[in-house]
Each structure stands twice: as structure tokens, then as C-alpha cells.
Amino acid sequence: MSSATDTTAAAPAPAVPAAIAAQESRLAGASEWRLIWWRFRRHRLAFASGIVVLAIYVIALLADPIAPASTEASKPQYTYAPPQMLHLFRTTDDGWRFEPHVLGYRVQIDPRAMRRSFVTDPDTVIPVGLFVRGDRYSFLGLFESDLHLFGPIEAGQPFFLLGADRLGRDVLSRTIHGARVSMSIGLVGVLMSLAIGVVLGGLSGYLGGLVDSAIQRTIEIIRSIPTIPLWMGLAAAVPLTWHPLAVYFAVTVILSLIGWTTIARIVRGKFLSLRNEDFVVSARLDGASQTRIILVHMLPSFYSYIIAATTLAVPTMILSETALSFIGLGLQPPMVSWGVLLKEAQNIRSLASAPWLFAPGVAVMIAVLSLSFLGDGLRDAADPYQK
């Protein structure tokens, strides 16, 4: 990237002649967002996490074609099948050649223990390829297809890279599909909380007095009520005839109406301590409007806090979905989300004999970790005093 295009692309920044390319002027002339971007790129862990987060969202969006199977495709003979190893090369009599494949299973039913036991069968080779035909799906309601990014070349063959669940469904595919619900709902909930929190917190901290008191009491009251009963009550008030996803979405929106309080408290606290800082006082003496003081002078001085709080809130939403699913609230099967999948896995039986069912838990961990590191990096990058 050349600095010339960089600076002209940054619209609100004062235009700097492209000719002046010295490092000093480059820094001085770049927009704030540009500076943030430069600093962010230096933070390797955050940068990598950002890519992971982006990847998760892309996978979530393209879940249908990326996952090798649909969420419902069950193969009765493969309940609790262990994960298959993906082999890249195949050895035959005339040496080895590149042919990605997995091995089939030999299955025995043990009716006394009520389970199937699996042994890998080296003689059953299941070739695996890219862009193969499989279960039909309707992509976001736009078009129909049966093309999948990868999977067994011959449709219907057992293909369980992360094992199968109690109904012989592919855990990998279900985890990929679960990302769609979990990631989007976390995001929407947090964005709503953020909007309400910044506005009300800002008003409360800046105006003070009666407004502050009223908002603070409201926050206090809302925060004093444990979330579980609130969820239960509200979940019961949502009509049953709705689609389960709509039910969950509705409750998420309601939850975010409660979640804004954290952000509001942080924003208010900052406003209180900033209100009498020199730069705010001088702006006020300068005759700047209240809106301008809040938006231009005060808010930018604590973007970092808001970003830190927001990135931490997305994973919190994902995690509360898990906890709620566990006690039987929130989403219910047949909806597929990481919380629902984990609820199905959360028992001693899975721990003892089918640990691969916890793959969605690993997905939650990856998502939470990368979102957190990303938020961390953004926070550091947005810090104007950063050396």
C-alpha cells in the first residue's frame, strides 16, 4: 500500500500532498482511523485474531456450502462414531499417490451396553474431494444447491472428521451450522446494547443532575434483578407459534435492553471524570454545542473503553446462550447453535466415551478468545497516547 493512496482515501482527514512522504508528516497527516489501523497491524496476536473472527463469520455465512452435511442428515448405523483421520496419500501396490481419503468403520452393535463399537476398517477407503455433491440445501433462501466445499466424493459415505453424535449426525457440520446462530445473535445483541448504553450513559454523565439520577436509578433497578428469572418470564411471554429462532431473537433483543447498563455505567464514569478536563472546558468556553462536545471531544477520548467492553460483551452473549440452553431456556433443538450442541454433549456419558461431542465447546473457546484478543488489539490501537 502506498502512502499516497492511503492519505487520499482517508476522507475526513486534512488532505496532505502526496509528495510529502517523510515519516513525520505521514504520521501527522494521517487520519485517526488510519493511525489506528497502522498500530493495529503491529499487534500480531490481535491481527491474527481479527482474521480468525473474520473467518468465523465467513464460515457462518457460508455454512451450507462449507459444511459437508446438513444438520439433520443422520446415519443410523453411525451413532457415536469416533472421528476419522484424513489421509492425504494412499499407498497401493504401485507405490503411493496423492488421493485424500478417510477409512470406513466396522460396526458392531452391543445391545447389552446399548452402543455401537467402531473399529477402523483399512479396506474401506472413502475418497474425499473438493466441490462434491451432497445434501441439498437452500442457501439463505436465495438459491438451491447440493454442492459442498468438501466431502466424500461418493455421496452418502460416512464422513465424520469430528465424529458423529447420538443420532449419527456429523459433529463438524453441526458445529459449522451452529456458528451462524451463535455468532450473529451475539453480535446483534451487543450492537443494540452498545447504542443504548452510549447514548444513555453519555447523557447521564454529561448532563448530571436529575437526568443522571433518573438514569442511574433505572440502571440500578435493572441490574438488581437476576437475569435468569427475567429470561424465564420473558421467554414465556413470547408466543409459541413463532419459529424457535424468532423466539430466541426476540429474547436476545430483550436481553440487550438489559445489557446496555454495563456500557452506560462505564461511559458515565468516564464522562464524570472528563467533564472538567481542560480540553472539555475550553471547548465549552469556545461555545461548542453540547452535542459537539460529546461527540467530537469527549467520546473519542474513550473509544478504547467502549471497544474493550463491547468485545468482551459478544463472548458473554455467546456464553449466556450456553448457560441458558443448559437450564432448558433459550434455544431448543432442533435449532442448532453452539449452546444447544453443548447441552446435548454436557453429560458424563459424552465425557467418558464421546469427547468429540465437545467440539462446539472448542468452537466457543476459539470464538471467545479471538474476539477478546481482537478487542484488546483494537483498544490498544485506538489509544491516542500509545507510544
Binding site: I225, I228, P229, A237, G269, R275, I327, A352, R379, Y385
Partner: protein
Amino acid sequence: MFAFIIRRTALMVPTMLIISAIVFVVIQLPPGDFLDTLASQLASQGEGLADSQIALLRERYGLDQSILVQYLKWITNIVTALDFGQSFEWNKAVLDVIAPRFWVTLGIALLSLALTAVVAIPCGIYVSLRQYSLGDNLATFFSFLGLAVPNVLMTLVLMYASFTLFDSNPGGLFSAQYQDAPWSVGRVLDLLAHLWIPAVVLATAGTAEVVRVMRATMLDELSKPYVDTARAKGLTEARLTMKYPARIAINPIVSKLGWMIPIIVSSEAVVSIVADIPTMGPLLLRSLLAQDMYLAGAIILLLAFLTVIGTLISDILLALLDPRIRHAME
């Protein structure tokens, strides 16, 4: 300062009244009442209660009255006689049901709060001083790992591990031999052996957030000019950090303390169900599911009260710690 405390305390009364009204409405929101739940349980086993019998019970419990009348009765009894009503399901005064569990809950909450503080605050200071070092990244990674693993999952894994590795069954509050024994050193140790799992699980979940907030505020403070001034004047790095930035960075943590109680109890409900610990959490969940409304209402109200008190304390502490906030409030 004194006037400030008085004013804040007086404000608690209307706050609690509004909360009580909201709580009462929310616990009444799900369709049906306790008797419907009871009747359905009975009916699913064959012979059920007759409709007339249910009507009689409904009248006896006062469930046939309007929600406003029910609320007024409830709140009047609480305010005048500290009578929180009967638990339908346990057939006992609500307070008698809650009391023994209250102390266990408080114990777990304090234990995990202490664990969080002991681990997270030093950790937060350290990572802010050594930004981007290996230590920062490791500490960040592990504190987030604690946050990232769902509580239920961690509880199950810890219980299963302690069962398979150490051959101990950590479920319940006491082992069989201490269940009804009088208090002794052995019984205390046995209690701790059962409480460590929920305390650790809850603490790991809270640690990440405290470390994050601590680190973020510390970094802001450390880059302020006064720190440079102090450094220029020759203050040792340790003294300099402890004297101002660390103190200021604790502010947001303090303001969180009051709010951590309902959060801990909400998450504790799930952990205690798995770990089989008799706290208020599972009782609350159970009473909500069974629509045992006076019990549920009393627990929620108690938690709300704790939170309001907690917020009050943290406001007072904040005011003491940061003169700017104090002046703004006065």
C-alpha cells in the same frame, strides 16, 4: 460525605419498592400458577387432583385474586412483619427454606470473589506493565481461557476428573460420614473439598474480565503525563505504579463489586446444579420452574437487596477513592 451517604441510603427505599413490583410481575408472567404445575405433575402419573380440590387450594393460597391484590398483600406482609409468605412446594415459611442455603451461597460467592481478586488484580497490573511480552500474552490467554470455557462444561470436567483421577465423588456439600456429624476440623476440610470446584469455576469466569478492565485502565493511566513527571522526578517504577495508576485502575473494579453478586448467583445456579451443592441458585431455578412464586419472589428480592447494598457500598468507596466523583455527586 455524610449527607451523601444518607441521601443514597434513603433512595434505596423507593428503589426496592419498584424492584419488588417488577419482580412480582415477572414471576407471574409465565402462564399458569403453582397449582397448574402441581396438577400437571399429578396428572402425568395417573390419578390427579380434582378440579374442585384445585379450586379450593387456589382459594387457600389466595391465587384466585387479582395480581394487584396479591402484590399488595405480599409486600405489606414483608414490610410490616418480614413475612415472605409460604413456599407452596416445600410447605414451609419461605425464610426457613432460604436461610440454610443463603450461607452456602454467600460462602461460595465470597470465596470466588476473593479468588478472583487475589489472582486478577496483580495479574492485571503485571500485564499492563509488560504489554505484549510473553507474560502478557500468556496471562491474557489463560485468563480468557477461563472466560471462554462454559461454566457447566468446566464443572463437569473438573468433577469427572476428580472422580476418575482421585477417586473422590465431589457431589453434594458433605461426604456421607460428615453429613450429619457435628462441626469438626475434618468436616470443615470435607466442606472445602466439596466447595472448591464451584469456587474455582466461578472465579475463572470472573478473572478474565477483571484482568481486562484492570489492564485497560492501567494502560490509560500509565500513558498520562503525570506518570512521566513522576518518573522524571526519580520515583522507582514500583512505587510509581502502586501509588497512582494502580489505585485509579481499581476504581472500575470497585464499581463492579456490587454487581458481581447477582451475576455470581445467576451463574452459580447452573454450576451448583451440576456440582449438586445446596445453594440458593438451584432453589431459585426450581421455584421458578414450579411457579412456587413466593419462594422465587423472596430469593430474587433478597438478591436484589444485596445488589442495591453492594452498589451503595461501591458508590461510597468510589467517592472515597476518587475525589472527582465525590464532588460530582455532591
